[in-house]
């Protein structure tokens, strides 16, 4: 593998990492808000509350960063290849959920996540 491809893979992994941090911060913010959403008004109230949490702003920065990286990647690599490598982010999210958010990710959930990753690689690479 030449350096160019390795660099692109590195950038895609970085994009996945940004997405993971993004989701992690959003979920962590929501976890601190004790609210049961039962209707649309409450859903908008939830979003309003999230907007005032510092972690949610990390979220926004990560989204912008990830979008910028992704657009750069797409200008260099094929979409199918990029999608295949990006499927890694399902594993990253599961890992982060269990390690940082202390969610119980059992064997069944891990297995499911890995199957999805394989499935996405198959779907992406066959265009």
């Amino acid at each position: 593998m030449n350096k160019q491809i390795l660099f692109i893979i590195f950038l895609i992994v970085l994009t996945s990492l940004c997405d993971t941090v993004n989701q992690l911060c959003l979920k962590a913010s929501i976890n601190t808000i004790d609210m049961e959403v039962t209707n649309l008004n409450k859903a908008f109230l939830l979003v309003w509350k999230i907007a005032f949490m510092p972690l949610a702003w990390v979220c926004l920065i990560c989204s912008c960063l990830s979008l910028t990286l992704w657009l750069y990647v797409l200008s260099k690599a094929q979409l199918s290849f990029a999608y295949a490598v990006d499927s890694l982010h399902f594993v990253l999210i599961a890992l982060a959920s269990s390690l940082i958010l202390k969610e119980t990710v059992g064997l069944k959930r891990w297995l499911g996540t890995l199957l999805i990753m394989i499935g996405i690689i198959l779907v992406s690479l066959t265009g």
């Binding site: 989701q23 992690l24 959003l26 979920k27 929501i30 808000i33 004790d34 609210m35 049961e36 959403v37 859903a43 908008f44 939830l46 979003v47 999230i50 399902f90 999210i93 599961a94 959920s97 269990s98 958010l101 969610e103 119980t104 990710v105 059992g106 069944k108 959930r109 297995l111 499911g112 996540t113 890995l114 199957l115 999805i116 990753m117 394989i118 499935g119 996405i120 690689i121 198959l122 779907v123 992406s124 690479l125 066959t126 265009g127």
Partner: protein, 133 residues
């Protein structure tokens, strides 16, 4: 607050999220395509370009969709684990493939179908896994 497992309601919310995301992408694509012939030669062309974009109704429709997606996704995350919600969102790959087959009459290869089977299997495993309480 107790974290419940996946219910049919939340599953429908997740599916709605996938459809909204597809709609948002279509709106942004339509906005971009409407400016296809535009060339940026001078600096002030950038502002003309932005003006054209901002006056496109599809851009605003797209942003509305993004707002709805965020609201919907936040609602979902307030009810279930992140490690359940994210894998199920991968059903978008299945829906896009089906849409290509049904509406665009594209050929779907055997390898791709096997990928779809893998994703469906994974989603069913994740969605029946126990939530913590």
């Amino acid at each position: 607050m107790t974290k419940k497992g996946l219910t049919l309601n939340i599953f429908l919310f997740l599916i709605a999220n996938i459809f909204l995301e597809t709609a948002a992408q279509m709106c942004f694509k339509k906005t971009a395509v409407s400016q296809e012939g535009f060339n940026i030669i001078h600096h002030h062309d950038i502002f003309v370009f932005l003006g054209h974009m901002l006056s496109s109704p599809f851009l605003w429709l797209g942003w509305l969709a993004v707002l709805l997606i965020f609201t919907n996704w936040s609602t979902i995350l307030s009810k279930i684990d992140l490690s359940i919600a994210t894998p199920i969102a991968s059903l978008s790959y299945v829906l896009v493939t089906l849409a290509c087959l049904i509406f665009l009459h594209e050929h779907v290869s055997l390898l791709r179908w096997s990928g779809i089977i893998f994703i469906l299997g994974g989603v069913s495993l994740v969605s029946t896994s126990k939530g913590d309480s």
